[in-house]
């Protein structure tokens, strides 16, 4: 039987209450939302905490998707299923529904949250790739209600490590909206609900003349850091989208990532996937931006 080591259970009723508990308990405490990453890690003794602070009661406060003219704001406790089922979110950013369809399985998606996924900062985690692709900004609240906003690059410090400090909580993810947008997500997995062998997301913003104003690609499961690939953005900006351009982007993706051989595939195969999935998602993103 796998059970976590002993800990004290605390339940937060508001965001400020959660921050107060974190301040009082320090680094011996950890927030738990869906728990589908944290509890398995605690069962395996890969993580041990003296206190777990259950923030599920904050869903009323932090479970929302607000589509505004210049940005989409998503509360950190919004569950995967809510992200999957939101027509408004799918209309603004098609990549979200495409990614959510292949994250874990429907029952796990009933519990898992956006904020939990990002804070877990697993290099194979899909929503980190999605948020990187969309140039998301993370709102972190700390003691006294002070808020700071960081980019995904700043948020993701390293594997399982984020910019969220002791006494702080991720409260919101902001996705900037710009005209001429299209986006897509592709994941290759061994079976339903598994971690990715490799995933790729692409987002495109086209100008009036059909040239690329901006483009971003985010990969998952190809190395310790799921960040964007600036060289792809620089190469694509100002260009008219065509197959040759997607090929160049794919080549850059393949050589810019850092995959390792494991039971899910060889390094060579993963580089091939990074290349192929980058091309596919860019192609689809452009089609969507045009329609």
């Amino acid at each position: 039987m796998q059970v976590p080591a002993p800990f004290e259970y605390e339940r937060a009723t508001t965001v400020d209450h959660a921050i107060g508990l974190l301040e009082r308990l320090g680094s011996s405490a950890r927030l738990v939302a869906g728990g589908h990453s944290l509890l398995p890690m605690m069962k395996l003794r890969l993580a041990n905490f003296e206190y777990l602070i259950d923030i599920n009661p904050l869903h009323d406060e932090l479970g929302y998707i607000r589509v505004e003219d210049d940005a989409v704001r998503i509360g950190a406790l919004t569950r995967h299923r809510e992200l999957l089922e939101s027509d408004e979110l799918a209309a603004a950013f098609p990549i979200f529904r495409e990614a959510e369809r292949v994250i874990a399985d429907p029952v796990v998606r009933n519990r898992g949250t956006l904020g939990g996924s990002l804070c877990q900062a697993d290099p194979s985690e899909d929503l980190s790739a999605v948020c990187t692709t969309l140039d998301a900004h993370c709102v972190i609240r700390g003691p006294g209600g002070a808020e700071r906003v960081v980019s995904m690059e700043e948020f993701h410090v390293g594997p399982y490590e984020t910019a969220v400090g002791d006494g702080e909580i991720l409260v919101e993810v902001r996705l900037p909206r710009r005209p001429g947008h299209g986006s897509a997500y592709e994941k290759v997995e061994r079976r339903a609900g598994d971690w990715a062998v490799v995933s790729a997301g692409a987002a495109i913003w086209l100008g009036d003349g059909g040239t690329i104003v901006d483009a971003r690609v985010g990969l998952a499961a190809v190395g310790p850091n799921t960040t964007g690939i600036p060289e792809i953005s620089a190469t694509l900006r100002g260009q008219a989208p065509d197959e040759q351009l997607y090929e160049r982007a794919g080549e850059i993706a393949a050589r810019s990532c850092d995959p390792v051989t494991d039971q899910r595939g060889s390094e060579e195969y993963k580089r091939h996937l990074a290349d192929e999935l980058t091309r596919r998602t860019l192609r689809k993103a452009v089609e969507r931006a045009r329609s």
Partner: protein
Amino acid sequence: MQVTMTVNDVEVTREIEGRLLLVHFLRDTLGLTGTHWGCDTSNCGTCVVWLDGEPVKSCTVLAAMAGGHEVRTVEGLARNGELDPIQEGFMQCHGLQCGFCTPGMMMTCRALLDRNPDPTDAEIREAISGQICRCTGYATIVRSVRWASVHEASEEVTA
């Protein structure tokens, strides 16, 4: 710590450890062994129960988290001594062989029919994609859910 929750419409209060998982609370503390306990890693889905009406994998939910909430297990599927159409469907269409995955499968499929009374085969397979059956190859499970869907629809017509 003390936890109070509603399990199959009955309020229960027990003294528990914070680390106790919901699946063990149901099986060992309450003696409701209909919910099975399998992989421990939220992969196999035999431990699926409802938390406030939504299927969850109870090996990855703390019993404490369910405090103040409503839990329903396979023991709470039949109402007033009558089997739920899902249970009847699994009997009629041979939706199980060894029966290990069955409680989780039935809880997920009941929730599916509540949201989508006439699902396609693909939608049924998607709904149970996080649950593993090593006997049936899933074909008879899909058939069982179809059976329940069709019979519920015809019951509504006659009622």
